[in-house]
Amino acid sequence: MSADYLIKKRSNTLKVLLGLGFLSLAAAFITQYDPVTGLISGLDAMRWVAANFYPNEQSLTRLPSIMNRLRETVLMSIAATTVAAFSATFFALLGAQTTKVNDALRLMSRSTAAFLRNIPAVAWAMILLFTFGQSSLTGFLALFFSTFGFLSRVFMETFDETTASSIEALTATGASYMQIIFQAVLPASLPQMISWMLYMVETNIRDATLLGILTGTGIGFSFALFYKSMNYHAASLVVIVIVVTILVIEYISNHIRRVIL
């Protein structure tokens, strides 16, 4: 009986692996992808990068303007994240099981958050481009909507996880809704909320770079501009600046997390 069970389990694993192998072969056939050529062209690309894609002396003169663009991108991500976090707090309070005001508002806030969350920032940017054109407002709103949806969701979970018991205790003392929110829910949840906010600032700086190519703003625009004008040395400088910025931001936010948690 148990031997049968093990054999069956093994043959199931085999079937899944064979299925996956067949799928990837079929996909390669349909798209006419040849792994050998793929590998060789990958090497060629590396060779090209080594030959052209590094900052030279002349590209360094572009650094001040690149830094200006970078500042724009970083500040926009921070602005979008903080504004989104502030609004998400209200929605999450209405949407969390432990802090809901009533079921209708809870459903409304949950479905709004789910809707916004499931559309990625890049898709938002494309939609908003029609209305606001190529401006930093488009980028800001795109980041705002996706961040708002995501943060609403995680704040709801934070409230539900961390505060049910103290809410009961404060209710029993005769405290009112507002008092419970400010005296129990927010103090207990704040560190986790800030941690999620920092995570979104990091993510948004990455997304903002990509969005900048679409909306013609920030550091993404610098990259697109240099790349299209075949100034590869300057474009590589932009990439390096982006990588360094993301590492620095991650280092700072990890440090903040250690202090508050």
Binding site: S165, S166, E168, A169, L170, T171, A172, T173, G174, A175, S176, M178, Q179, I181, F182, Q183, A184, P187, A188, L190, P191
Partner: protein, 261 residues
């Protein structure tokens, strides 16, 4: 006049789950009453029906001359300030310090915004320090609650309830998460609060031997019904067997049988 009367109270969570059925008893001012019963017998629900954290399905709870079920929001908050509650898991806001948690006991007396922003008068702070001295926590006033031991956390819970200046203290399994030493300390504090401050105590316990050692009067609950209500010395081994089921009764009486008259 009785401080608390519970008359024909039933609580159905849905058609199949009946937490309480037709529970009636009265508590006189200054009494120390212990409710015993196995887990899931309805003890916790019963306590929560008294301060309306759980709404009753039918029946009437009268506290200090007020029909609890008919109170509006504001009146209910006012009534709750007179009923302190302590919990098995202490239900503190762990990230706040001891003093802040104790001051939560005043929220029901304060205006919404003064309470939400945590603005307390000197008088209230002095009172909080007095209560903390009473439960032996004067050394830990500014310590964060997540750094305290279980017994200390429960003493913070007691201090918070006392700061409400309550007439009745509802204690829901106050020692179930504590070791025997801390349990004794907590039960001694409750007894002291009862005899010295004259605060009526209604305590849920599932440890029979502790109930026998501390209670003047015992109410036995089994499957949502009151099966015993009388003086501790009149509680017989048979009744204990009835409340807990016979095998568990033997085990329980092994450590507490000598108290049974």
């Amino acid at each position: 006049m009785s401080l608390l009367t519970v008359k024909g109270v039933s609580k159905h969570y849905n058609e199949r789950i009946v937490a309480l059925s037709d529970v009636s008893f009265a508590i006189e001012p200054g009494e120390f009453v212990v409710i015993i019963g196995s887990s899931g017998a309805g003890k916790s629900t019963l306590l929560r029906c008294i301060n309306r954290i759980v709404e009753v399905t039918s029946g009437v709870v009268t506290f200090d001359g007020l029909d609890v079920g008919s109170l509006d929001k504001r009146e209910l908050r006012k009534m709750r300030t007179k009923v302190g509650m302590i919990f098995q898991h202490y239900n503190l806001v762990n990230r706040l310090c001891v003093l802040e948690n104790v001051l939560h006991g005043r929220l029901g007396y304060k205006s919404t915004w003064a309470g939400a922003l945590g603005i307390y008068s000197e008088e209230e702070k002095a009172q909080a320090l007095r209560v903390l001295r009473l439960v032996g926590l004067e050394e830990q006033v500014y310590q964060r609650c997540d750094q305290l031991s279980g017994g200390q956390k429960q003493r913070v819970g007691i201090a918070r309830a006392l700061l409400q200046d309550p007439k009745l203290l509802l204690c829901d399994e106050p020692i179930s998460s504590l070791d025997p030493n801390a349990s004794k300390v907590i039960m001694d504090y409750l007894k002291k609060i009862n005899t010295e401050l004259g605060i009526t105590c209604l305590v849920n316990l599932h440890q029979v031997h502790i109930a026998l050692a501390y209670a003047e009067r015992i109410i036995g609950v089994k499957r949502g019904r009151v099966v015993y209500d009388g003086l501790t010395e009149h509680l017989t081994a048979e009744t204990i067997h009835d409340i807990y089921g016979s095998e568990a009764g033997d085990l329980l009486l092994g450590s507490g049988g000598n108290h049974v008259g």
